[in-house]
Amino acid sequence: MNLMGLQGGQYCPLSPEQIKIVHEASLKILERTGIIYEQGLEDTVQMLEDNGAAIDRDRKNITFPRDMIIEQVAKAPEKVVLCGQDSKNDLHLTRNRVHLGTGGAAIKILDPETGDSRSTTLKDLYEVSRLVDKLDNIHFLVRPCIATDIDEADYDINMFYACLAASSKHVMAGVNDEKGLHNVVEMASMIAGGLDKLIKRPFISVITSFAISPLKLCTQSTHIMQEANRCRIPVALSSAPMAGSTSPLTMAGTLAQLHAEQLAGITICQLTQAGAPVLYGGIPGMANLKTMGYSGGAVECGMMNAAIHQLSNHIKVPNYNSSGLSDSKVPDAQSGYEKAFTALLASMGGSNYIHHSAGMLESMLTIAYEQYVIDDEIIGNCCKVLKGIDCDAEHLALEVIDSVGPGGNFMTAPHTMAHMRTEYYNGNGVTDRKSREKWEQEGSRDIRQRALDIAKKLLAGPKTLYIPEEIDRVIREKFNILLEIQ
């Protein structure tokens, strides 16, 4: 059952009136408070000044007239198509169409043999990506973890390589610098058969944390973002304030500041390259006020991520956000409800590209193979909710009711046969609905064990080599590829 790209928008935490209030507040923030920059962004700042922004070079502060923002933001495409190497995995990001997938850069994994947490490796990155490739409800692959066992200089090319070798779903990740970006684009072009073909069907994209909340441009990431614009590679404009530490404690204040950061970022992109494909990348988060740590599993994260989509939809730019995180350290009841709540709220909000929604634990520090299987099930359920209840004549089933008649049963009706595989969400097998007897006979296994079994079974299958052998050879000649695929 492919439940990708369904229509969200059923949950609207902001009323139409409130959307306007927040949007106006954000424009005011940019006009009055502005954003700051550091050394190294002189060219970007000059470009902004030439196009109407006011620059205070002593304070390194940029303020934006509202008309300038509105004019530039209008140039951003209303629809961005992120492709898979296989076109069945293409994502059409626009309006309220919903997609969910993995999130990035974890540094620890629960070892599948011992269950204990340890550092992630290049092999984990490859194997987890293979697992994601096989889990139908996970719609895209944001580089799930860091290969902590390789040299930092080899990060960018090797992490993209491992993902592209393991999966035909869309691959997105951050890069360390502009050189890393160029290398990755070159490698992807080799696979695509040329840069023009890659631009036409972008099966990779990049994330840049261009803003350091509150309201500050990150020099390095802004450079990468602008370079991606010039290369016409889609880019997600990540900014991720935590309510209470890097944005106001209140949800509305956090949304207003974050929307302002996004408006500024999109403006920079569109001035760099008019029409550049960008994803509005506001990720509203929360600080745990007792530790100042990141509270990814809080229900308010789901609420705010639904709201931020409303704001991106208001300016007609597809969005990248975050939900389905948990603060729990292991797959348990807490991770189950935190993920289900936040992923469902963000989905029903209509978010276009919800990352972090598969595999993660301990906010975003840890992943687990079994968690991907459980989250695949949670995402499947979320998508089913979006699908809603069909109410046409066939689904109303008046004919069947009449032919079965009072006192009959529907078990053998052709109508039942016709709909039994599609009307309800058929799980991936991880959910237990057996009798107690049967469950006990099978070893009384809990969801973590069941999920791990499924993961191992999926990974035991043959390895699909998504990068054709002859291209692989050329790539390995050109770049220092460290992954050995047996």
Partner: protein
């Protein structure tokens, strides 16, 4: 013998106005500034630190307490003897080069201050040479390095190497921390200590100062 309980309680209750009043009153009564600092303000912050570790207090409240304490210290500073001021260890803290994460590091700096040490917070993206320069300039006894990225953890090692090269290694104890940093990594790169959160970082810093 004076009762410092009121000062401690007032600090824990975040009543800055009253705290200043109490510090001034105590001075008027002839109580030595050093006693007010150690038995009143720092002892009060110890209670706050404990409450923070037990998650009985919100961090913004802890920050308010630290600010109130700072106001008290300002009043006492001119009256403190040479010995008392220099006994307070001087700490250099910063996030290593290439790393821009500062929320956790700032929290650590704040808790170290409220443990009675002087923290010089250099900021983020700090090069090894800059750390070395500041150790000299501030005659520091502790160096605290923060890193949140696996890509910048090697920079911790490089920073320690630079300290060794500068000949200052015997003068400073080095403590490291940040989400991906572990005790094992700290050992591997030749740091003297590791702490996993701001509360234990402050305790460890105090213990390190006492080792001198």
């Amino acid at each position: 013998m004076t009762d410092f309980n009121e000062i401690k309680e007032t600090l824990v209750n975040l009543d800055e106005q009253r705290l200043i009043q109490l510090v001034n009153d105590a001075l008027e009564k002839g109580i030595p500034a050093g006693d007010i600092l150690n038995k009143g303000l720092i002892a009060g912050m110890d209670i706050v630190g404990e409450k923070m570790e037990n998650e009985d207090m919100f961090i913004p409240e802890v920050l308010m307490a630290a600010r109130a304490m700072g106001k008290g210290v300002e009043i006492l500073k001119p009256l403190l003897g040479e010995e008392e001021t220099s006994a307070r260890g001087s700490v250099i803290i910063g996030t290593v080069k290439g790393d821009l994460h500062d929320i956790g590091k700032n929290l650590v700096a704040m808790m170290i201050e409220s443990a009675g040490l002087t923290a010089h917070n250099l900021g983020v993206d700090i090069a090894p040479e800059e750390f070395v320069r500041m150790i000299k300039e501030k005659n520091a006894s502790i160096l605290c390095l923060s890193a949140l990225l696996t890509t910048t953890m090697p920079m911790m090692k490089q920073t320690i190497d630079a300290v060794v090269e500068s000949g200052l290694r015997d003068q400073v104890k080095i403590m490291v921390g940040g989400a991906p940093v572990t005790q094992a990594f700290a050992d591997e790169i030749g740091a003297d200590a590791f702490a996993s959160d701001a509360g234990s970082a402050a305790k460890t810093a105090k213990a390190l100062v006492n080792q001198f």
